[in-house]
């Protein structure tokens, strides 16, 4: 990875985005098989997912983009070497805001793809969040010209990224955060998906490349930190889609939408009312078995409807819980032989800045039918009861505001948007339902056929988690701050046969829904001893390995929290979270992995290091900041290189880690004192360990395992086989980390779990790919007792810096 010494320091962020992006690509490339020319380049995209009822779809013919990068390697020389003018601080007024945005925008737009795969950012980094942007594309894999070369693949992704970029632009945003790409492949058909959150970033961060300036800037910012990111980035007179806008409930100065969907974690500075919860939309669609183009076409035709329905479900479920924003949204569309499956997971919260969501109203089509009417009203009552119950359950008691302060929703936005909507509108605008009758902000569900009835029923089948349980798919649960160190990471895998002879969409939906609900229920049941606890980072992965088989894999971590402290913390939740955020950020900045200080470990990257040194000395940034920045870059580069190589790059860190680790272990072994020789290794999909301080990062663990058995029955059938295999994978990861001197794995993820069986031959195979960061952590309580291990990390690094 060449790095121009003349490169201004600010480019380090871009390196981040690009190298992370590449990780995603390289993994999706794992599956590519030869193919020729893409005959069906239907790029499908859904607009930003804010107000559902105005959801629009566009089918744009595939545009041919000039290729800018020819390989999956990031070529930094492609990024323009323009330095940014120093942004002037001041009050954020209307014209100034535009100016500021233009400035940032221009700087960002010069990048090929201003995408960030990160999902958490320092406070103040996100100025505005526009909403979710996504794009999907159906491709045929069997017609590739030269399968060994990445050209075609890169072109496909470039196309999708352009699409994403233009969506973000339509929302008045110049960057995409929380960006991710994924593929689903069945035979020769492949669905490429990308999604992210359109956002306006703080130019200060991009300019200086250091955090100090930004923190100062945050104080100068006019918009209060707790709600700033909710304010719309687009022009309210020229909205990309129709939406109800109101004045921000927090600062009353800026406009906010009525709902906000994002793919990122909840910003730490966000003001949240009550607790959050996991919200899932599940969907199955049958499709005819077909070959090649016909198959791709039928998939393409189904996708928009699926996406629409997923959003409907999400929106309904969000309203049903009395919440107004989704974070960590991840929509997964899986393609199988004869069906498509959609699973969306997100964490719903009530943002104090956004208006209170209205209820859900059911409207029947045949009002003259008495029994029908009765049924409808019965359902309406049930829905209202559920909403009330949920509000209680998730402690959503927003402060009552006098109506005059709130102000009425901005009038006639629909009309205007109709006129001005230009970006991605097409003829299907006419299908839009006018659902805005009745209560002004109520959400109306029209029951016009049995399908709709089913939908309403399925809304009510979602059982809330048992008392003492919360769940979310973000890193931490909004509204809970007092975690105990007790964590339990787990993986659950289920494969179910959809045994219906003549399956219909309804039965499939119900089966799939039951499967997911049962899985969640069984998780709650299994972990009941940890109550009160929260399932964090709940990550569902759906696969369709065979005709009628559905495989769901869930990885999550259950963390116990202190109930008594929770009550106290409730009093000042935002302050606490902000505090936590700032300390967290400091920790992240002071990555103790000062690779540049170690001659051994930095050897593979020495040219880059020199370049960095050169770059930073040119810019004349204070040494301390430079070092921090360098270490971060080095870490990211190490990550990127490791992932690209697909192997475990841990040898270098091993040598470095051992002295400290030994010292640490010596310290630890004294108090533990058990006769057990096996050291305990914690695992978590989160980036942190509650109640502990990570003193050292030891490098990436990225392991592939393939296991085959020819005696399936003897090993306890498929369940026995997989149970043992997953247990062994965990054990091998733990052993590897322990061998490196670590005592935990953070950011653990199971990227692949491919399971195949042939019961007739008594055989089964399984491939598992897991990765994470090996770390050394010290309990905060021990940290006070043993002051020795913690400082060793820091001085060692800084001393090394002086010598280099």
């Amino acid at each position: 990875m060449p790095l121009d010494p003349q490169q201004p320091n600010s480019h380090c962020y871009w390196l981040t985005a690009h190298s992370e992006l590449l990780c995603v690509c390289s993994h999706s490339h794992l599956h590519w098989i030869p193919f020729n020319e893409d005959p069906n380049p239907n790029t499908y995209s859904s607009g930003p997912s804010t107000p559902l009822k105005n959801q629009t779809y566009s089918f744009s013919p595939s545009k041919s983009y000039s290729r800018q990068s020819s390989s999956s390697d990031t070529d930094l020389s492609l990024t323009p070497k323009t330095g940014m003018g120093s942004g002037s601080a001041g009050k954020e007024g209307g014209p100034f805001k535009t100016l500021l945005r233009q400035q940032t925008q221009s700087a960002l737009e010069q990048r090929e793809f201003p995408f960030f795969t990160l999902t958490t950012f320092p406070p103040g980094f996100l100025l505005h969040v526009g909403g979710v942007v996504s794009a999907r594309s159906v491709k045929l894999l069997d017609r590739i010209h030269n399968p060994d070369e990445p050209e075609t693949r890169d072109a496909w992704w470039a196309e999708i990224r352009q699409e994403i970029k233009s969506h973000a632009k339509a929302l008045g945003c110049h960057a995409v955060v929380g960006y991710s790409e994924s593929t689903s492949i069945c035979e020769e058909v492949c669905i490429l998906s990308a999604s992210g959150t359109a956002a306006v970033l703080n130019p200060r961060f991009l300019q200086d490349g250091t955090m100090e300036g930004c923190l100062e800037q945050r104080i100068e910012e006019a918009s209060p930190p707790g709600c700033g990111f909710c304010h719309i980035p687009y022009d309210e007179l020229n909205m990309p889609f129709p939406a109800h806008l109101t004045y921000c409930y927090n600062c009353r100065k800026q406009k906010v939408p009525d709902v906000l969907f994002t793919t990122i974690d909840l910003p730490v500075e966000a003001i949240v009312v009550g607790k959050g919860c996991l919200i899932q939309a599940r969907l199955c669609r049958l499709k005819k078995k077909a070959q090649a183009e016909a198959n791709a076409t039928s998939i393409s035709n189904l996708l928009p409807f699926m996406e629409y329905e997923v959003h409907t479900q999400l929106m309904n479920k969000l309203k049903l819980r009395g919440m107004n924003a989704l974070f960590g949204l991840r929509i997964q569309i899986t393609v199988g032989e004869n069906m498509l499956m959609g699973l969306a997971s997100a964490t719903g919260v009530y943002l104090a800045a956004l208006p209170t969501p209205g209820g859900i109203q059911i409207a029947g089509k045949t009002p003259n039918d008495g029994t029908y009417e009765q049924h409808i009203s019965h359902m309406q009552k049930k829905i209202n009861d559920t909403i009330a119950k949920n509000k209680e359950l998730y402690e959503i008691n927003p402060p009552e505001l006098p109506e005059e302060i709130i102000g009425s929703p901005i009038p006639e936005p629909r009309q205007r948007s109709r006129l001005l909507r230009s970006q991605s509108e097409s003829s299907d605008e006419v299908t839009e339902l006018d659902l805005s009758h009745g209560k002004k902000d109520a959400f109306v569900l029209e029951i016009d056929d049995t399908d709709a009835m089913e939908d309403v029923h399925s809304l009510l089948t979602d059982v809330p988690p048992p008392s003492g349980f919360y769940s979310c798919n973000t890193e931490i649960m909004p509204g809970i701050n007092n975690w105990t160190p007790e964590i339990q990471m787990f993986t659950a895998v289920r494969v179910s046969r959809l045994s219906n002879i003549n399956p219909t969409n309804q039965t499939l939906n119900k089966n799939f829904n039951d499967l997911c609900e049962n899985l969640l229920k069984s998780l709650y049941f299994k972990l009941r001893s940890m109550v009160p606890c929260c399932l964090c980072h709940v990550n569902f992965t759906v696969a369709l390995p065979e005709d009628e088989l559905v495989q769901i894999a869930v990885t999550a971590v259950a963390i116990t929290y202190d109930k008594n402290q929770a009550l106290q913390a409730n009093k000042a939740p935002t302050e606490k979270s902000q505090q936590r955020a700032s300390t967290d950020n400091e920790e992240q900045l002071q990555f103790p992995l000062e690779l540049s200080s170690d001659p051994l470990s930095s050897q593979p990257f020495s040219p880059a290091k020199e370049a960095l040194e050169g770059a930073s000395s040119h810019t004349g940034i204070p040494a301390a900041q430079r070092d921090r920045c360098n270490s971060w870059i080095e870490l990211i580069k190490l990550k990127a290189q490791t992932i690209r190589r697909g192997s475990i790059k841990t040898t270098t860190s091993l040598e470095k880690a051992s002295p400290l680790a030994e010292g640490y272990l010596r310290h630890r072994s004294v108090p533990s004192g058990t006769n057990s020789t096996v050291s305990v290794v914690k695992m978590t999909p989160l980036s942190f360990l509650p109640g502990a301080k990570i003193t050292k990062y030891l490098g990436i663990i990225n392991m592939f395992f393939i296991r085959e058995t020819t005696s399936l029955r003897e090993e306890g059938g498929v369940s026995g086989f997989l149970h043992a295999f997953i247990a062994e994978v965990f054990a091998m990861v733990r052993a590897h980390v322990a061998a490196l001197g670590g005592n935990a794995v953070v950011s653990y993820i199971m990227k692949q779990c491919v399971f195949m069986e042939n019961p007739n031959k008594n055989q089964a195979q399984c491939l598992i790919n897991v990765s994470g960061d090996a770390v050394i952590f010290v309990r905060e309580s021990e940290l006070e007792a043993l002051p020795v291990p913690a400082p060793t990390a820091q001085p060692a690094g800084s001393a090394g810096d002086v010598t280099t």
Binding site: P466, Q488, M489, F490, T491, A492, V493, R494, V495, S496, R497, L498, S499, N511, D514, L515, N518, K521, S522, L523, Y524, F525, K526, L527, R528, S529, L549, Q551, T674, N675, S676, T677, V678, V680, V681, K682, M683, G716, V718, S719, G720, L722, H723, A724, I726, A727, E728, F730, A731, R734, A735, F755
Partner: protein
């Protein structure tokens, strides 16, 4: 929609104590689910039968994978596959090796052979312990026995170390093994901790020949004794007679004490064979107990018979053939006569105390230390066994 594959794996292995107990009791998954349902878990947790089934199956799979490690508990500590907190590991082992006393009582005095294992069906029916649980416990006994039979050193400690059992449970196992339930006389000595059996090679061969030298415990007469009684007796015998108890005297210049302990017991016969000694002994005990004991007259009448029985039990211990009658003799010749004379346990205790102490004042009796050691265990056994 049936689940073909359904697994849950935690980084820390989840152990549900209730399911573990059901598994140990030998219930099938279906039975376990039924029992959990009856336990009202559904109402408590508000979950479904399917969830319960899946949960039970998961736990059963985990336990099956753990079982081979439980066969050698130190391996459970060293393995890397399952991350289990130490206190949970201890619980797993403890529960796995816990046994039903009713079953242990049945097995007492039987050989741990395949034949016995085949009879477990009947044992299961009699004791109400599930057949699978019976087999598991039987295998546990056998495993513990095999592991320690060749080892030297204190039995209970060996078991504790090899199987990581808590001291109380290890002592119980030691008692089982010790009581010679399945053992030969030779092993009995091994467990007593003597470096060499105090027999000549000829005796040794004879002992091996008389393989039926186990303590007789199955007789109708002994039915009233529980497993706990036998275990307590075995423990007091180990405590007072084994090498550990003799250690201070092993350092004696004369040196040959441990070896000859049982041989020396024959010397005690003088107490009953010598008429003078017997009379003096009687008068000492009687004078001490006069007025203090409700059954004084009966005592006076029976003293000689009792004393003869108590001393002769010890004298017979060197003979493999007679060892088996140890408990029978005690019951037949001491406990039953006392019971028919309506001795209270307090009476017996008082009598034994003075009976043991009296020879101190007998002129010409030189085996005071031996006598007291011998009587300490015998008294403990008798007091334990003296109930309905």
């Amino acid at each position: 929609m049936s689940s073909d594959l359904d697994v849950f794996v935690g980084n820390t292995t989840l152990i549900d104590e209730e399911v573990y107990r059901l598994w140990l009791d030998g219930h099938s998954v279906a039975e376990a689910v039924a029992r959990r349902l009856r336990g009202g878990v559904l109402e408590r947790e508000g979950t479904s039968v399917a969830v319960l089934q899946s949960d039970t199956r998961d736990h059963y799979r985990t336990f099956q994978m753990l079982e081979r490690l439980l066969h050698a508990p130190p391996r459970l500590l060293q393995q890397l596959l399952f991350q289990i907190p130490p206190e949970r590991q201890a619980l797993l082992v403890q529960r796995y090796y816990a046994f039903d006393e009713a079953l242990a009582r049945e097995l007492l005095g039987k050989k741990l052979s395949k034949g016995t294992k085949k009879e477990l069906d009947e044992v299961s029916a009699r004791t109400g312990v599930g057949i699978r649980s019976c087999r598991r416990q039987f295998d546990n006994f056998k495993r513990v026995f095999k592991a320690v039979e060749e080892l030297r050193g204190p039995l209970a400690e060996n078991i504790q170390q090899l199987f990581l059992l808590p001291p109380a449970l290890a002592r119980d196992y030691a008692a089982i093994v010790f009581s010679g339930i399945w053992g030969l006389w030779e092993r009995f000595w091994g467990f007593l901790g003597c470096p060499d059996p105090p027999f000549s090679s000829r005796d040794y061969a004879a002992i091996v020949f008389f393989a039926n030298s186990r303590f007789e415990t199955g007789k109708r007469r002994l039915q009233f004794l529980s497993f706990g009684d036998f275990a307590a007796c075995a423990q007091s015998m180990m405590a007072h007679w084994s090498q550990g108890a003799l250690a201070p005297e092993a350092a004696d210049p004369d040196g040959d004490l441990p070896k000859s302990f049982l041989q020396d017991l024959k010397e005690l016969k003088v107490l009953v064979s010598d008429k003078d000694l017997l009379d003096q002994h009687k008068s000492l005990v009687c004078s001490a107990l006069r007025g203090k004991i409700s059954v004084y007259n009966e005592l006076e009448a029976n003293f000689k018979a009792l004393s003869r029985a108590l001393v002769n039990v010890g004298g017979k211990l060197t003979h493999a053939r007679d060892v088996r009658d140890f408990f029978v003799d005690l019951v037949e010749k001491v406990i039953e006569p006392c019971r028919s004379d309506k001795w209270s346990p307090g009476d017996l205790r008082l009598f034994l105390t003075h009976y043991t102490a009296a020879p101190r004042n007998l002129p010409g009796f030189r085996h005071q230390a031996l006598w007291e050691r011998y009587m300490a265990a015998i008294s403990a056994c008798l007091l334990r066994m003296y109930h309905d």
